[in-house]
Amino acid sequence: MTQDKIAEAVEQVPALDKRGTFTGPAWEEILPAVDSVLSAGKDGVVAVVAMLKDVDDGADYKARYFLHVIAQYVGRPGKEAARATFIEALASQLGGDRPKGVQGYVARQLQVAGSKDSAPALGKVLADPDLCEYATQALLAIRTGAVEEFRKALPELKGGPRLTVLQALGVLADGASVDAMKAAIADADREVRLAAGWGLARIGDAGSVDVVLKAADVDAGYERIKATSSALLLAEKLLSAGKKADAAKIYKHLQGTRTDPSEAYVKEVASEGLAKAGG
């Protein structure tokens, strides 16, 4: 299928109204065009990607929309082969010469329809500050194969991408990242410290009780509020895992340290937790 034919298919997307708002075609109206592009295999999808521009200013809205329609369509039962082709095509567009705005859009379509097969391509761009967030969000949506990419990327990252990936490992409750998080909980950056404490809480690691409590004893302020929340989360995780003594340690600590009237509500939560932990 030639680029002209692909462009012809994309052109079937209706024009915008005068206000610039959008009314899509009915599914049955657009599906023949979608099928024709998919029938061209990987090259057909790549040809649509080639129609995207770096800046989303509406000039390429038909191609953007068309690509997204494919992303929705290939998620249907029975479309597994088409989905695999779509994913392969999009993954091939990451990390190369395409403008960053286009690669970001491609990553977002992989967030919609990608699979573990696209994880390595997304992992490849985690170190790119322009693409790290989109790639992370796509990997977190895909889940399978994501954690390996995050672990691989983290040691080399700095600044925003480091925080993004550290938090992602917390979202995935990655037990293999405990040491990295324990190191990060004492970081100079407040957001990194909080992300690390939250990640340790989500992992539910009994060996993290002391560092999480130390982080929660920071002076009054937002960090103390959030770090205390992480400590309570860790206690709940430990309690549900049957590690009552470890959970009780957290509850006792909070019960004993949240003595200011403004923190009475935390003390109350801790007291309830302690009762559940048999402390």
Partner: protein, 409 residues
């Protein structure tokens, strides 16, 4: 009619069919003592001061002695003094003299600010819709339960309808478990501002205004370049911040009916949308969405703005005649539901308010299910207990999309 607890217990012992009637958390679940300022005034803060913000704040102060001590908005860059005016809600929440927080931001901030407020010991009145996606609501409800704080959604239609005798009768029929097959169909037709709150896709990115902290505004949503309609009311037309007229209006519209039809503790199990393929960025046109509950009750949203009309089932309320005689007698013996508790009463007594986090979350789920059916373009099955789609991993990506660091649930 027995209205005492003994009467209820006896009734429950008499029938197994009514197990579900009292399944909703009782209104007096939380018994934490009220938190008062030393001078007996409640300290109030408004976070998100544009649009509905001031009205939401006014609702929060009804029948309570409140002194406004902080206003926070990401567009206050040029006047933030961190005493009365703030751009960063976190600095408001760390203040010990703030007890009550009204949230009037766009919905993509509702859950995160609500959760942080509860963690800081504050009570919250939050503008509708409650959330931007399903997992947010569960996190809000769990957090308010953990910290025993008060959450009330900023729509109040259920307070009025729950006083009407006919509505109470329908509510009792629905909650009784006596219906063998639920014939109820509720159709909400029109009034969902679909075209009005459709986003624009033909705008070139611009430099944000100097008084607006764009990065903070975007928050947990995917970072996109600034175009004016993404901020300031027209944000409703973009998936990143809300969910179109459907999300904007449906919590308002459906909340009273969710109470009438007794669905505060569950969600539909089948969802089907009649709509064009969704746009990736902007909320756009759709025709209707049909949502079926496990008991057979059907809820339909019809835009009246695109495509053919919904014609599968006519609207129909459940009536006494749908029950056999014995069930009618048992229903007559059931106590009426307790009156709903207002936000002010809830703050004072620590009872759960009528529009509490669990109920509001169940209502918000309806909007999200509808929008996800539009965005996936296929019939979906939903597990109301796990709050996940069944057998559709791609649909679940919309139920709990990742957040941009440092924000997370």
């Amino acid at each position: 009619m027995p209205s005492s607890k003994i009467g209820r217990r006896k009734f429950l012992a008499d029938t197994t069919a009514s197990v579900g009637f009292f399944a909703v958390a009782p209104s007096a679940l939380l018994a934490s003592p009220p938190r008062r300022s030393p001078n007996e005034l409640y300290g109030g803060a408004l976070i998100g001061c544009g649009g509905r913000g001031p009205s939401t704040y006014q609702e929060m102060t009804k029948n309570l002695p409140v002194e406004q001590r902080a206003q926070c908005d990401v567009k206050f860059v040029d006047k933030a003094d961190n005493k009365m005016f703030y751009t960063d809600f976190r600095r408001v929440l760390e203040r010990k003299d703030i007890d009550l927080v009204a949230i009037g931001t766009p919905p993509h901030w509702h859950s995160l600010i609500s959760i942080a407020a509860a963690e800081a010991g504050k009570d919250v009145l939050c503008e509708k819709p409650m959330t931007r996606f399903i997992a947010e609501g569960r996190a809000v409800a769990d957090t308010f339960k953990r910290y025993k704080r008060i959450f009330q959604i900023g729509t109040f239609g259920r307070f009025g309808v729950s006083k009407d005798k006919k509505n109470i009768e329908i509510h009792k029929i629905m909650r009784s478990g006596f219906l063998k097959e639920n014939p109820g169909v509720y159709v909400k037709s029109g009034g969902l501002k679909v075209k009005e709150w459709s986003g624009r896709v033909n705008l070139a990115p611009q430099t944000p205004p100097a008084n607006l902290d764009w990065n903070f505004y975007v928050g947990a949503s995917p970072m996109k370049p600034y175009v004016p309609p993404r901020h300031g009311g027209t944000h409703r037309g973009y998936w990143d911040y809300e969910g179109g007229g459907l999300a904007d209006m449906a919590q308002h519209t459906l909340d009273p009916y969710q109470w009438i039809y007794g669905k505060d503790d569950t969600s539909p199990v089948e969802i089907e949308a009649y709509a064009p393929p969704a746009h990736p960025e902007v909320c756009a046109m759709w025709g209707w969405i049909e949502m079926k509950y496990a008991d057979g009750f059907t809820l339909v949203l019809e835009s009246g703005e695109w495509g053919n009309k919904y014609d599968r089932k006519p609207a129909r309320k459940p009536v006494l005649e749908d029950l056999d005689e014995e069930s009618r007698k048992k229903l007559a013996a059931l106590p009426d539901p307790e009156p709903l508790v207002t936000f002010a009463e809830a703050v004072r007594t620590r009872k759960q308010p009528g529009g509490n986090a669990e109920a509001a979350h169940r209502c918000a789920i309806l909007l999200h299910l509808a929008n996800i059916a539009i965005r996936t373009g296929r019939k979906l099955r939903f597990d109301p207990v796990k709050e996940e789609f069944v057998g559709d991993e791609l649909a679940n990506r919309y139920a709990n999309p990742p957040m941009r660091a440092p924000w997370h649930l």
